[in-house]
Assembly symmetry: C2
Homo-oligomer: 378 residues x 2
């Protein structure tokens, strides 16, 4: 919607598995979302602009070759991956599903671009979680290393913390090679944790609203804390809350895509942008939400279901997008208050059982999160 | 056979796809190989020792859980991957097949070990090709980096040069995480290019012979040069022959596995051994073969079908296996002469059309190497 609004001719491809995961987990977006077909119709009614719609699966090469061959895009914005770390850690089937879905989908896009039009710019959604938490500054994709008297600029070493984040690392390596080998051009957007739900476009009509996930599998931390505050549920901090991560406003996410497209890399170039605007600890976010919520609220420290360092150094470079023109929306009480308002309108839709974590990283099976064997059929 | 000979109780699992690739490519091992069932029977007749035999596919989790659950090994030696870089570069289907086969097989092994007995030592065959050719010394898996006044020991940055080598990098990342997350123990053997065909065990009976591949898709460089010399075919050097790689004798390969098993890492530890013994340029090998062959021979420089640096720095550490007791078989004219003898016995089995490269890295389709759509059914 953002790109269409800015004058780009846009088509969207979807296989709707995100809605299937909801059915599997017994949850729904807190904000009701219309069918994609309805959203495209409403967008046309509201703006007069058409968005093309392709229904299919990136794991199917014929589908990928068809959409790229028919639409002939200037850029492919590839956000079509299973995007939840907890989902990938439910059990073996979910780990395998996540890696196959993400890696094969991306390989098919790589080959379709290489074969049909290697000039197409592949804008791929990566993750800040690919880097893990090294004890040195995180650079944007590459680092100059001096070692035993010699020097080279090499890919920044990766220490991802889930089979989902690992799939993103696999994709990054595959795309980097594809740029060298097939002469493709690609931007890897290593995104931080997104918060917020409304954009300038999504607020124009209820049909245009996007998802707001409150559950422990797909919900992201700040959104979840806001929802917990509104519901009167304890704010659930994992471990000691001393984990530090990069964050950004959903409105900056869409702007970053535009900046990447407007400033494409050269043929053969693979570049990485660290796409976040501010660093916070989990405790800082819990305190901010607690302070902003007008009613009573409690913070509860729960056993960390994830495998991650609790006290660690964290400092990541993120200047490339700012150099291209990004003016960040900084996290503010105003944003949090507007989130509270959205949440209050839909608070009755919550399944309370989905709020606490159901997936423990160190278990090979987490039957509370999903029925056994569900994914074998997908 | 080597481990069985050394007193280990051994079982082997195979899905026989390596023989299927031969059928697909229209080639056969230069040395005839018996069925696996026959090899196991002959081994029993020759040595009195039994080797268990499981037929199945690592992509099938039930099979993986069954073999590990029934056999209850001390170590899993995981060599069951599609192992040819050219094969992975034939086209999209072969790239996807290679990555799915290798990554999913390894994920299934990881989960089966984590669930059934996390004490089992996973010995995984990696590749020196995972590192590419950086302009700094290659370390064994990890490197200490000093950056902006801070220090950390991090995974050595990877720059693999084919979708096959990429699959190995994906596996390495997955296994490293599995050790941290599930408390597994694993040794990643980043092997160089293997040469030679006979071991102390394989020569005891013709049924025990192992493969000798002469074709451009599965054959390795030194073995191929020897075969070309014997046939009177030009020795085909790709590019300028200035590429440098690490090499080892097939007899050292089996010894390295024994050393890894005999000295297991601690629970939760992921370690990497660079498994090669000497570095050579391709030109050095061509000259050595040419000089050792008693008849006439010619060296032909062919357009490099691969994407790789021609002049580059190369120096890789490989001390860990030596510290554990490896005494390398250095490359010698004697070894080359014994290879010549093996080859001369079977020279009539060669399909000459398979000797020159049929797979160009930069093409998305290489129909001379394989029929379209073959792998969709496998």
């Amino acid at each position: 919607m953002y790109l269409s609004d800015r004058g780009f001719e846009v088509a969207v491809a979807d296989n709707f598995v995100r809605r299937l995961y909801d059915a599997e987990l017994g949850v729904e977006s807190l904000v009701p979302i219309a069918t994609l077909h309805q959203r495209v119709r409403t967008w046309k009614n509201v703006t007069g602009r058409e968005i093309g719609l392709f229904v299919g699966d990136l794991r199917d090469p014929e589908f990928v070759y068809r959409i790229i061959g028919e639409f002939r895009p200037q850029a492919v914005v590839h956000f079509a991956e299973q995007r939840s770390a907890p989902y990938s850690m439910i059990d073996r089937a979910h780990a395998v599903y996540t890696q196959v879905n993400n890696v094969v989908g991306t390989l098919n896009v790589i080959y379709a671009i290489a074969e049909l039009d290697p000039d197409i710019h592949l804008v791929k959604l990566g993750s800040m979680g690919e880097y893990g938490t090294p004890n040195i500054d995180i650079e944007e994709g590459f680092i100059e290393i001096e070692h035993r008297g010699r020097k080279d600029v090499l890919p920044f070493p990766k220490q991802p913390g889930s089979f989902y984040h690992l799939s993103k690392v696999h994709d990054s390596h595959n795309i980097h090679f594809a740029c060298k080998n097939f002469g493709l051009r690609s931007t890897d957007l290593n995104q931080g944790v997104v918060y917020g739900v409304e954009t300038e476009q999504s607020v124009r009509h209820p049909d245009l609203a996007t998802r707001l996930d409150y559950d422990a599998v797909f919900g992201t931390v700040l959104n979840r804390f806001c929802i917990q505050a509104v519901l009167g549920h304890p704010i659930t901090v994992y471990g000691h809350g001393t984990q530090i991560r990069g964050f950004l406003d959903i409105r900056d996410t869409v702007r970053c895509i535009e900046l990447a497209i407007a400033n494409p890399p050269a043929r053969g170039e693979y570049r990485v942008f660290n796409q976040f605007t501010e660093e916070f600890s989990i405790n800082q976010l819990a305190e901010l939400v607690s302070r902003t919520w007008p009613g009573p609220s409690t913070v509860e420290y729960v056993d960390n279901p994830r495998t991650e360092a609790l006290s660690h150094y964290y400092h990541a470079r993120h200047t490339k997008l700012v150099e291209l023109g990004l003016v960040p929306h900084k996290l503010s009480e105003t944003l949090i208050q507007s989130l509270f308002q959205v949440i209050e309108r839909h608070r009755d839709r919550v399944n309370w059982e989905a709020i606490r974590p159901t997936v423990n990283w160190r278990r090979t099976r987490n039957p509370r999160a999903s029925g056994a064997g569900f994914l074998e059929k997908v």
